[in-house]
Amino acid sequence: VSADERLLLDLLGAVSNTAESEIDCGEFLARAAAWVERGRTFGRDLSPWRDVLRHAALCPECEEEMEALRSLLDSADFAS
């Protein structure tokens, strides 16, 4: 796969995952804490978190920040 094709394939992935309405990075930050804190205990119903998960899939920086938060909360220093 050429670099040009890789770019278009990545873009195609992002376009196919695009919704008419999406939360922005500010809204994501507000909701990511709740997702990280409780997401894994909500069982299989991910519908309340669809916007959060879509944003994380489309915004690598927000995903990185959410993973950093998850990692901090998993560490002994910040576990509640």
Partner: protein
Amino acid sequence: VTENRPCDAPIDPRATRKTRGPSSIGGNDVDDDALRDVVFGIDPTGDATRALTRLLRRVVARMSQGASEHDVDDLAQESLRRAIEAAPNFRGESRFTTWAIGVAARTVLTERRRRFAESENGRSRAAAADDEARALKCPKTPSPDARSKKAEILAALRDGVATALTDRQRVAVVGELRGVSSVALASKLGLSRNALYKLVHDARKNLKRALLRRGFDAEAARDVLSEGRP
């Protein structure tokens, strides 16, 4: 308890004191609500502000190993400033401390991205992405042997990038896909991070419509993307 609040009304976090209780996160045995009140300017004794600053500093120090004490202090203060600025967005869906740790994590990573954007590697990555965005402005004639569904949809997408996006959208979309940080892109385009996201979101919607006009929906895109995957 019946709430007389419309279901779509924002939650006032200051009205949710009942749910939280003490927080031991980061060794802070200070009430989560008291820490939250700091960002709303309520801290009669100053104890909660000191506790929140300590918590943010611990996050920064953990994420910035090797940084000077001075830099850690600066980033902790910046985290506190950003938490105060973002306080209206806190809706009480999580513990306040979890949210505040998220704000500090974003502050540290944003600073790291800013430093990379100013480095030689960062500038060269941004320049390469700019060149690529400029090249994609010109429609490309599909090669005659491009008859597979994948080749057709990628040609339609490339055409969409050339014709359905503004120059700014093209720079933002290509930059983001090529790993140029939001700090660099937002600064180049004179936008906030949220406005940059909206610019890219609008660009993706334009491309989605451009593909639909050519007969390619999201399912067709997913089919192409799953080609070759087990």
